[in-house]
């Protein structure tokens, strides 16, 4: 037969495939095309220049500072969240028992509240005469620390926003560690640290890795934290891209920046995805 109807699997994949082709792949191609257009113009496909990229890598330009800030914030977010989320992920698997689903819901729910609402809540907490400052004064103290609009506050905001994205993959990962394996190791005389290093960590690694990748990638593109909690004291890279697209109407430059970010993310993501077995992680044991 020259032509065979595609299999059921292929057919079911078509709607998602089309959506991602039109809504994900095509826009990325479009920004690549725009990144080669004459700066400050809209002559896509009619002009070809590397000027936009040359501008980015020019030391005179301070955009590298934004890259640095975003990279540092993302890296710090990943490291700290891995430490903060681990005990909770462990608890969801081994300690909370039948309370686990309730605790999970408590951590999922904030995802459904717009991040700017939640971040603004922190502004109300830390601002002069806000909840912290006001309470301390009411008890006769000096008043709250002046932490708003500092880089540390931006980092705290990122930890806060991206916690669920570390926690849930990590929980899935830890769920892949069989409990009797740990018991067996303990019976054979392994210490707690040994069990953690030789059994728990390696077996949970796929989930932990996904969590780290996800938080890093989202952290690199974070913008709301820096704008709301940082008060523009630091310009992160996504903010630079936004400025290029909106205020300065320099789409080619914005596209070039977005392409650099996308390339960076793509390399990381593909490297991690290469060694991932999603069937095992998501439930086909």
């Amino acid at each position: 037969m020259a032509f065979r109807l595609p299999t059921a699997g292929t057919r079911s994949a078509i709607p998602v495939g089309l959506l991602l082709l039109l809504g994900f792949a095509a826009p990325l191609v479009a920004i690549v095309a725009y990144s080669f257009a004459t700066p400050r113009s809209f002559d896509v496909f009619t002009s070809f220049t590397l000027e936009n990229y040359a501008g980015i890598f020019d030391v005179e330009n301070t955009v590298w500072l934004s890259f640095l800030w975003s990279g540092l914030f993302a890296l710090a977010t990943v490291v700290l969240l891995a430490i903060f989320a681990y005990p909770i992920a462990y608890g969801l698997n081994r300690v909370f028992g039948r309370w686990s689903s309730l605790v999970s819901i408590l951590f999922v729910f904030p995802l459904f509240v717009s991040e700017n609402v939640r971040l603004y809540g922190w502004v109300l907490f830390f601002i002069k005469n806000g909840v912290l400052d006001g309470s301390l004064k009411a008890f006769g103290f000096e008043g709250g620390p002046d932490v708003l609009f500092t880089p540390g506050m931006i980092l705290a905001g990122m930890l806060y926003t991206y916690l669920p994205f570390m926690l849930f993959p990590m929980t899935l990962g830890l769920a892949m560690v069989p409990g009797d394996l740990i018991d067996a190791a303990r019976d054979l005389g392994a210490g707690r640290f040994q069990i953690w290093r030789e059994i728990e960590l390696p077996l949970a690694m796929p989930g932990i890795l996904i969590g780290m990748l996800l938080t890093f990638v989202l952290g690199i593109g974070a913008i709301a934290e820096a704008k709301i909690l940082g008060g523009q004291s630091v310009i992160v890279i996504a903010h630079d891209i936004e400025i290029a697209f909106t205020y300065s109407q320099n789409w080619p430059l914005g596209s070039a920046l977005a392409v650099v970010i996308t390339g960076f993310i793509a390399v990381l993501t593909l490297a991690v995805f290469g060694r991932l077995d999603l069937d095992r992680l998501l439930g086909r044991r």
């Binding site: 079911s12 920004i31 909770i88 608890g91 989202l218």
Partner: protein, 267 residues
């Protein structure tokens, strides 16, 4: 449990409780700000009042953007769940050649910063000559939400026994009958959770709406605009209302799944 394990469990529970409190603290702060009288927030609250809630409920502008947010979220939910349902079958049910590649492609939009995605879509729409409005925002939301819903439904599909479908075929059912009588009821909890996720994620989405909704404003977009310039206590009031709405939807949605499971087990 021995002594060390008990200490461990206590440490984990205390830490989790601290983190949960930290997560909900800003939401509570917003609620306090919305309930205090006067234009500028100060703590301890001198006088409580519901005037800002009333003003928010009476505002014509806010009624408009609530309707837009709702329309967007509902459209995203209905479209996403259909596409993601088939996506989940391709993801987890059928063995086919491109499956492993497909699984990874589906994840890519989740592993991508939304502000950058929103700007890329804005540029793409303009290159195509499409005027941005709430309709383009629906499309933009779907690019991110369909993969999430696909995952949510796929987890249910993994627990699905394909031999049940085959048995029904052997007993003479048509393709449509199998779909309606076997596949859909078995996957229903997953589909329902997927719909709930789609609605709530769209309802709360800010970065994609900001760049792709054009002149149409959604609740998160309006809140952001007012936070940056022109704060009024209607900001925390609307934020709190939106949060309560999401909590209500989640509670009702969860209740439906719970009752459904109980009825299934009771049979």
């Amino acid at each position: 449990m021995n002594q060390a394990q008990k200490r461990n469990a206590l440490f984990i529970s205390v830490w989790t409780a601290i983190v949960v409190i930290a997560i909900y603290l800003p939401i509570v702060c917003g609620a306090l700000a919305s309930l205090s009288k006067g234009r500028y927030f100060g703590f301890p609250v001198r006088e409580y009042s519901i005037e800002w809630w009333e003003k928010t409920l009476d505002s014509f502008e806010i009624g408009m953007l609530t309707r837009t947010s709702f329309t967007v979220a509902l459209s995203v939910t209905l479209l996403s769940v259909v596409i993601a349902f088939f996506g989940a079958l391709a993801f987890a049910r059928y063995e086919w050649k491109g499956r492993r590649l497909f699984q990874k492609i589906v994840l890519l939009p989740i592993f991508f910063p939304q502000p950058v995605l929103g700007l890329a879509l804005l540029l793409w729409f303009s290159a195509l000559g499409i005027q941005t409005s709430w309709i383009t925002a629906v499309f933009a939301h779907m690019v991110w939400i369909v993969p999430v819903v696909t995952l949510v439904i796929a987890i249910q599909v993994y627990g699905f026994d394909p031999t049940l479908e085959e048995a029904a075929y052997d007993l003479g059912c048509t393709r449509f009958q199998v779909f309606r009588e076997i596949t859909l009821p078995l996957l229903w909890p997953g589909i329902w959770s997927g719909m709930l996720f789609a609605f709530l994620l769209s309802w709360g989405n800010f970065p994609l709406s900001l760049y792709t909704a054009g002149a149409d404003s959604t609740i998160p977009k309006w809140l952001y605009a007012k936070m940056v310039a022109g704060y009024t206590p209607m900001v925390p009031a609307l934020g709190t209302m939106s949060t309560l709405g999401a909590a209500l939807a989640l509670g009702l949605g969860g209740l439906v799944v719970y009752l459904y499971r109980r009825r299934q087990e009771g049979r």
